[in-house]
Assembly symmetry: C2
Homo-oligomer: 388 residues x 2
């Protein structure tokens, strides 16, 4: 049942090959002092950095720069960003990069005008911002996290070995995001595949909860089917613009709150994956891929009906003459095959996890209660061992 | 291909049985002078009028009222609304009712501060508002039009026998909409069915355009499948809250610009139905139902591949051993059966159209060019005759 909820997603999206043309218009809505945030050197190599700094200059902005945002943005880096934003009186944060850069920009945006320590406030006490939030705009160069149209911001604390996400409300969502599928075409295939699995898992985390009849489940199935179809084309030919554009668009809608409406949502795979990430610093999508199947096979008996629906609706498994268990397992096997086609990492040991880390990773795994089975710590250890 | 587009839908939605509780909070964002707009007496009978006026009073608002907004709001009524809004310096228009009341509120909102005649400006010259727009909020009592989260506003000019819709931009979309599925349960079954077909047709008008591979088509199929499923439950038991809530939610997403992204969109069924409506004043959804099948059977050969996909994906037609034409026709036959289950009106003659009106209706039908075949006037006459 859909139940009671509110939906408000004010992010303005510009999509397509010409989408950067709208940046100048958007700049008119914000003050002079812009903090430009990006990751490594890839946007310099691709020429995007030059394009954007030219538009900034042309718009008469004072630009401060902060580079080197890493794939799993750290708390230390967050402190650095807050300091630079304060020093420059930043009035707009422009994030250019993938989901990590967008996440990071949002974490900075809610911390600059707050006196509290952001780790304690947002990632331990999970409070909401009570200070002025600096507006964020994104120019996205990777498809996957959905950070371009949501309030999520994951930060990693290396000292305590915790990688925690805070999903902020609509006031923290980017004011605008520029989505040009061409930018995603320069990524290595490993990153493309990781992004695709991140999208798939976002949908699964919301889909595999509840047993009612809900429009959100139908939309989730549509997004998964479009993603699977497009990913197979992009896997053969990463330069297929149509496939890359559909992947980029499904990423946005997989995690902008829409398909969560009326769902309890699970997020246990993300909790496991993030705990692995805090220990290994591995690529987010790959940590999810490596723990997914052991997790889903473990919870399948508790949500059997939904796994049967997943098999028949998403993977076209023919149910004739089969038990529900067989149908459900065929669905997961079809997903496994697809994951292998994409050459996803299927073991956390390949990401650097060792037997000695299992206990620590289990300790760092937040236990969620929206899915078909609330895990015990022993079950978390078991799933992590099966993921080795 | 998704191509270039922007997406921005700032309407805040409150959904569910408790959604009216948020009205008081929303009122804080607007000025004292509220223009309350509604239709006939149904909201008085249901008690909703009393609830809302109590909240208005409690919020210290000065309330002006405008009632009697008809199912196909007329230009004369629009002039009346503009006059009342001007006299009362209205700062918020609160529309309580179905899509017609929401449409009407938007038409008033863009006209109050404009000197130009709204019919000439918006419905003949299709200009955009260049004057201050009064914010609109909706409390929806019918599911169907999607007006609660879009910029559409259809107005009927009885003098010239034209019913024309203007789809305004995001600045005209309701600032907030309250969607309580319970309110839709007091409707007569005829109105429920008309609303359901309106939703179905909104999706079809966007789906039956283009031949590319597009995430929007997958989402459209999901919405159609959820709608068909829920409509069959609601048809048997109109008091099934879950079914009514899924119908209400699909209505919103069927026409809030999302599934149009990357599509040319057609809207020819709406043009035909609106022309019928201008002559007969019939219920909107029924005018669409009555012209749909003759139209789709006519254009099917021009978009055969998509009609095959519609048959297999939406209606589960088994394609084995059949020609594309047979598969496509089976899909339309399945839709026809579903329409008959819902007891939709399948002939414009049953809505009051006469042979003598055909020429006038054809003249009043705007010809759109986004579908699989641009109709000639002769073809419009032919389709109207087949709809008799």
């Amino acid at each position: 049942m859909l139940g009671n909820f509110s939906y408000h997603n004010p992010t303005k999206l510009y999509f397509g090959e010409d989408s950067l043309n709208y940046l100048k218009d958007e700049f008119k809505n914000y003050g002079e002092n812009v903090l430009l945030i990006y990751g490594g050197g890839s946007i310099k190599k691709s020429g995007l950095y030059d394009e954007i700094t030219a538009i900034l200059k042309d718009s008469g902005k004072n630009v401060a720069e902060l580079s080197g945002v890493m794939p799993n943005p750290t708390l230390e880096k967050l402190y650095e960003g807050i300091k630079i934003a304060r020093e420059n009186n930043s009035e707009l944060i422009l994030a250019v990069g993938g989901g990590s850069v967008c996440d990071y920009a949002k974490a900075v945006s809610v911390s600059v005008n707050c006196d509290d320590d952001p780790w304690q406030k947002y990632y331990i006490r999970f409070e909401e911002p009570d200070c002025k939030i600096i507006p964020v705009g994104c120019v996205l160069t990777m498809a996957g996290t959905g950070s371009e149209m949501n309030g999520g911001a994951v930060i990693t604390n290396h000292e305590t070995k915790l990688k925690i996400g805070h999903v902020f409300g609509d006031e923290v969502m980017p004011k605008f995001s520029i989505l040009n599928p061409k930018y995603t075409m320069t990524l290595p295939k490993y990153q493309m595949a990781a992004g695709i699995y991140d999208i798939m898992n976002h949908i699964c985390e919301q889909y595999f909860s509840g047993e009612d009849d809900n429009t959100s489940d139908y939309i989730s199935e549509a997004l998964m089917k479009s993603l699977i179809h497009a990913s197979r084309i992009a896997n053969k030919n990463p330069q297929d613009y149509e496939a890359r554009s559909n992947i980029m668009w499904t990423a946005t809608w997989a995690l902008n709150t829409l398909v969560a409406k009326g769902k309890t949502t699970d997020w246990m795979v993300h909790m496991l994956g993030q705990a692995v990430g805090a220990y290994t610093d591995a690529t987010h999508g790959m940590t999810l891929a490596a723990v997914s199947l052991p997790y889903y096979r473990f919870i399948m008996p508790y949500g059997l009906k939904k796994f049967v629906r997943f098999a028949t609706e998403v993977w076209n498994v023919n149910p004739d003459g089969k038990t529900d268990e067989q149908i459900a397992e065929e669905g997961l096997a079809a997903m496994e095959n697809w994951m292998k086609e994409l050459e996803l990492v299927m073991k956390i040991s390949e990401l650097g996890a060792t037997d000695e880390m299992i206990d620590g990773i289990a300790d760092g795994t937040l236990i969620m209660d929206g899915g078909y089975k609330v895990l015990t710590r022993d079950e978390i250890v078991q799933i992590l061992k099966e993921s080795m």
